[in-house]
């Protein structure tokens, strides 16, 4: 049974998440950990939101969103993933499958960002005369158009994902219970995060900070366990 009110809230939140990635305000709302946490709260499944937020945040740590680089839109993908996992019962297998789907949807989101940038460039070329003449009004117009496009892009991406989740058949129960899928995704996430942190840590001495932190984390976890 779909809670249309909650899903409408999720759709709007997904729009905000998508816009936050590049357009603004870039307040970390588009980070999977944040996007997942809020989605979970909206759906009344905070634990699920945190789980998927953590899983996909590990992959996001492998991404460096600089300049003209291409990167996946994992924030909106996380919003859809939490909804999917909740619809499928929220067990370990559902989390694993939903996270995997998010990795694929994230690539679609990245592709849509490139189309958005091309549309922005076309608008700028259309208004080139006014830009060169120093018309201040055209700057606000182009910013507004860009913001509107990104919002539409994000809403369409999330809406498309929600439609698939609502209409696709539920995976078989043995798959939804299967903890192996979640562990596989977690393993991939740890690899991704390690690679990303390693790369930004660079060579010594910063590499040693990463190794020290990892050792401390392992020791801390060992003590807690």
């Amino acid at each position: 049974m779909i809670d249309y009110g909650a899903w409408a809230g999720v759709l709007l939140w997904g729009g905000v998440v998508g816009v936050d990635l590049v357009t603004g305000p870039q307040a970390l709302l588009s980070r999977p950990l944040v996007a997942g946490t809020v989605t979970g709260l909206l759906l009344g499944e905070p634990g699920l939101g945190l789980q998927l937020g953590v899983l996909l945040e590990l992959f996001a740590l492998d991404t460096l969103a600089v300049g003209a680089a291409w990167y996946p839109d994992l924030g909106t993908a996380t919003v859809v993933a939490v909804t999917a996992a909740g619809r499928w019962g929220g067990d370990a297998g559902a989390v694993g499958l939903a996270a995997t789907g998010a990795l694929v949807l994230g690539q679609v989101g990245g592709w849509s960002m490139q189309r958005l940038r091309q549309a922005n460039a076309r608008s700028i070329r259309c208004h080139q005369g006014r830009l060169l003449r120093g018309d201040p009004a055209v700057l606000g117009r182009l910013q507004g158009l860009g913001l509107a496009r990104d919002l539409i892009r994000s809403l369409l991406l999330v809406a498309g994902g929600l439609v698939v989740v609502a209409t696709a058949p539920t995976p078989p129960a043995p798959l939804l219970d299967d903890g192996v899928l979640r562990v596989v995704v977690l393993g991939g996430g740890v690899l991704a995060a390690a690679r990303g942190l390693w790369r930004t840590a660079g060579r010594a001495p910063r590499w040693w900070w990463f190794a020290t932190g990892l050792a401390a984390g392992l020791a801390g976890l060992g003590i807690l366990s």
């Binding site: 870039q26 307040a27 970390l28 945040e57 700028i124 910013q143 990104d150 690899l191 984390g217």
Partner: protein, 243 residues
């Protein structure tokens, strides 16, 4: 007060980001409140200043305010236009490099690592909220500082930036991010598998990092996300056949 009027425009600086002008239109839009006084004194200069402000530019969005304010100050001070254009070109590289180190490779992963640690320790949503609030407080403070220092120094912004210690801070924050990120990995695994998973999260992290060290060369080029999807598909197909 004029600088405060620029702040919300800087938060949506990249609304029209594109491969032609990159942040140019956003920088121009953010500059308008600072350039407006020119419209009353020298209308032709004003339009040339607006045209210049909306030209090609790209830097880290959290430090772009330095350029917005410095260039606008130079315009209002009637500095030679060729000098203003040279300053614009000269600022993009350093503000991009330092800003990306400080934010994308420093503060953002550090904030998210704190969130991951908090979730792994069972603090849940409040840990995530705390990390987001602290990051945004630092970030907004940085943007406001950038506007102030840019407006104060104008054409002399290069010297001010060199004396600011931003480069040193970006190195320190980067080290902190590496430390926190490393510590967060095992706790992230715990956050997903739950506190009842015992030592399994530890074993998984040790195994994955060990695997990474062994196959370092080839693994560095493969996308973990693509690998994960392939393995999950393979496991799903295998399990499907046994269902």
């Amino acid at each position: 007060m004029k600088l405060l009027a620029v702040l919300p425009r800087l938060l949506v600086l990249q609304a029209s980001w594109n491969h032609d002008l990159m942040q140019g239109v956003g920088v121009g839009f953010a500059s308008l409140p600072l350039l407006r006084p020119l419209a009353g004194t020298d209308r032709e200069r004003y339009h040339r200043a607006v045209a210049r402000a909306g030209g090609f530019f790209n830097a880290n969005p959290n430090l772009a305010g330095v350029a917005v304010a410095a260039l606008a100050r130079a315009e209002c001070a009637d500095a030679p236009e060729s000098q203003i254009q040279r300053l614009r070109v000269a600022l993009a590289g350093p503000l991009g490099a330092i800003g990306d180190q400080l934010f994308w490779a420093g503060l953002v992963p550090a904030a998210m690592a704190v969130g991951l640690l908090g979730v792994g320790l069972g603090w849940g949503g409040p840990a995530v909220l705390g990390a987001v609030l602290v990051y945004n407080a630092i970030r907004v403070a940085c943007v406001v500082w950038g506007l102030r220092v840019g407006w104060r120094h104008g054409l002399g912004i290069g010297t001010a930036l060199a004396a600011s210690g931003l480069g040193r801070w970006s190195a320190r924050v980067g080290a902190g991010a590496a430390l926190l990120g490393g510590a967060a990995l095992p706790f992230s695994a715990r956050g997903v598998l739950g506190p009842g998973a015992g030592l399994w999260p530890l074993a998984l992290v040790v195994g994955m990092v060990g695997l990474a060290l062994v196959v370092r060369g080839a693994w560095w080029r493969l996308s973990p996300a693509v690998l994960t999807v392939m393995v999950v598909l393979a496991v799903t197909l295998w399990r499907w056949e046994t269902v």
